[in-house]
């Protein structure tokens, strides 16, 4: 059994790092932990780091003054988290994709990996999934044009690479991230930024939620900072408006915007439409949890109360329906980094307890204390979801010729035809049209296809009224090349030295 890890943590963002720290610091004996992430550095999208080559010396003081208190706070927080995580003895496998997880006969799980130098695998008694989320894909006419990109993509370019995506930029989204991205674009030197906040009648709807802001002072300060940056730069801010189409031959040249009705459908009439000249359109309408791994290993899922996506069923200790699998953070339910960190701590402690590294009563006491802050963060997350979650009208932007599956060039018209000719499930549409068979494995088109299936059949599948079951994930979850498949597979063991090829 010494070939086996005690715990594998998939994802080194806020949730995964919190789980690592909690499990590592609380354990009474040495626990063999593997920490895996597909990026070359830990931190995820929230503690986004510049590449290593941009940091000639470790812990070099920043060459500039961070622009505001919350940024200073954010950086200090990131450094503190990295320092505590670094102190935990764990096998760190970065730049590594987990493309399959399967149960072992003797208990525990096998993880199949793609590492920088080839394929690998490891075995672990328990698994914490902390894989995060990605920007929710919303198809609209022109969304495949170069220059249309997600808020997450722009954040990566700005904060990790120090590169501006364009000059005349329309930011269209809902929620705090698009405000932050617009302010960051201004601070980075973009000249023509316009911000569209899609949520209609935001202020009036926000008032009843005012109390959820109590105690969230750092967030309030950050919001005020962004607002001041945008005001100072005279950035037009249109609340209740959103981009409904991008135009251009080879890349974005113009963006069509519209005022939205209560159900988020674009209002007709010239007074509710404008066309803006722009070279870049940034879109961000919330996030979709990456549930491919949790669905692949057979964890039970239900539809989130917001009706937007599937979430794994979890106990109060973040345990999934599969043995020794805990799921935390935005990959389980969208709630942001603060909530993800608390969930990560709970799962880290629960895993350490369940695997025999902590006394059970001690574990429970620690977890109970965390549940109070969990509820506070959950209230804040619920407020954001109530205010900024897109409504049904928003998913009707695509026209017959708009591509839904970008990988395999499948239009809305083709998907509708497949459903009308009898396809009852997302899997059947996939078989008929190839939608979801491409490189992204349906991560971008899956929800859209499910909506078409539901709109035509209106039949509750799996006793759910809002959307049919997503396509079944199949390994490999990430495309592998034949060169990679033909090379020997390395076994990764707690000694963290890949053993001789098996």
């Amino acid at each position: 059994m010494n070939e086996m890890f005690d715990l594998a943590i998939v994802g080194a963002g806020p949730a995964g790092l919190a789980a690592l720290i909690a499990a590592g610091e609380a354990s009474e004996q040495r626990m063999h932990i593997a920490l895996l992430d597909n990026r070359p550095q830990p931190g995820g999208q929230y503690y986004l780091q510049p590449p290593l080559a941009f940091q000639p010396l470790a812990f070099q003081p920043p060459a500039f003054q961070p622009p505001h208190r919350s940024a200073v706070h954010h950086r200090a927080e990131a450094q503190a988290v990295f320092a505590r995580a670094q102190a935990i003895d764990a096998c760190r496998l970065l730049d590594t994709d987990v493309w399959n997880i399967s149960p072992l006969k003797q208990g525990g799980w096998q993880l199949d990996l793609r590492m920088p130098d080839g394929l690998g695998r490891l075995e672990a008694r328990g698994v914490i999934l902390a894989v995060g989320a990605y920007d929710r894909p919303v198809p609209f006419p022109g969304w495949t044009l170069p220059g249309v990109m997600t808020a997450g993509a722009v954040q990566n370019l700005l904060k990790s690479q120090g590169v501006l995506p364009g000059q005349r930029i329309v930011v269209s989204g809902s929620g705090p991230l698009s405000w932050a991205v617009a302010a960051n674009l201004v601070e980075a030197g973009a000249h023509g930024v316009a911000l569209l906040e899609a949520a209609p009648r935001l202020l009036r709807r926000a008032l009843p939620h005012g109390m959820a802001l109590w105690g969230q002072w750092a967030r309030v300060c950050e919001g005020i900072h962004y607002w001041r940056v945008l005001r100072r730069a005279r950035v037009p801010i249109c609340v209740g408006w959103a981009a409904i189409a991008a135009h251009g031959e080879q890349e974005v040249r113009a963006v069509e915007i519209a005022r939205l009705a209560e159900d988020w459908s674009p209002l007709a009439g010239v007074e509710n439409r404008r066309t803006l000249e722009a070279d870049t359109l940034v879109v961000g309408y919330g996030f979709t949890p990456a549930t491919q791994l949790s669905r692949l290993i057979g964890c039970r899922h239900v539809l989130d109360p917001s009706g937007q996506y599937d979430i794994p069923v979890r106990s109060s200790e973040m345990a999934s329906s599969q043995p020794a699998v805990w799921i935390v953070g935005d990959g389980a339910r969208i709630g942001g980094a603060a909530l993800a960190q608390i969930e990560g701590q709970i799962a880290g402690l629960a895993a350490a307890g369940a695997l025999g590294f902590l006394k059970p009563d001690h574990t429970q006491a620690l977890i109970n204390r965390l549940h109070r802050s969990l509820r506070r963060e959950q209230r804040f997350a619920d407020m954001l979801a109530a205010l900024f979650t897109p409504r049904a009208g928003w998913y009707a932007l695509a026209q017959e010729d708009t591509l839904i599956c970008r990988c395999e060039d499948v239009s809305l018209g083709k998907i509708k035809a497949a459903v009308q000719s009898g396809a009852q499930t997302v899997n059947e549409v996939k078989g008929l049209t190839r939608a979801g068979m491409g490189f992204c494995q349906g991560r971008l088109c899956g929800d859209s296809v499910a909506r078409v299936v539901h709109a035509v059949h209106r039949s509750p599948v799996r006793n759910r009224s809002a959307a049919p079951e997503p396509a079944t994930p199949r390994p490999p979850l990430w495309p592998l090349s034949l060169t990679e498949l033909s090379a020997p597979i390395k076994q990764v063991t707690p000694a963290c030295r890949p053993s001789k090829p098996a």
Binding site: N38, P51, Y134, M149, A153, Q155, V163, Q250, R406, D409
Partner: protein
């Protein structure tokens, strides 16, 4: 465009300068940058992907920017003599760091075309 140095968002430092080839043209970049970042800096954000029917190409570009969507796939020439006969490797521009001497293509080069030599 790289962010101007006096911006609060400018990186503290960049890596060492290096040269790579984009569609046959030499381009200066800095270690640590991704291919996607360099494509944006060079104003070459349009990637021509073969359509599924195989007869035409379609303009695409960086969409998700974090390795999910595969829309930013570009073709990298594999170095001569590595025993890799495939000649070209498709990589996600948003995740792949630049390397000195790298030759990348934003549209799929004709397979019969001879490999470019230094």
């Amino acid at each position: 465009m790289r962010i101007i140095p006096n911006s609060p968002l400018a990186p503290a430092a960049r890596g060492a300068p290096l040269t790579l080839w984009i569609d046959g043209r030499p381009v200066t970049a800095f270690a640590g940058e991704t291919l996607a970042a360099v494509l944006f800096v060079e104003g070459r954000r349009v990637i021509y992907r073969p359509a599924v029917d195989g007869t035409s190409t379609r303009p695409r570009g960086v969409y998700c920017g974090m390795g999910i969507c595969f829309e930013c796939l570009v073709w990298v020439e594999t170095p001569v003599g590595t025993g890799d006969d495939s000649h070209l490797r498709a990589v996600r521009a948003c995740l792949t760091p630049v390397e000195s001497g790298m030759r990348i293509h934003t549209s799929r080069p004709n397979p019969s075309q001879p490999r470019s030599n230094d």
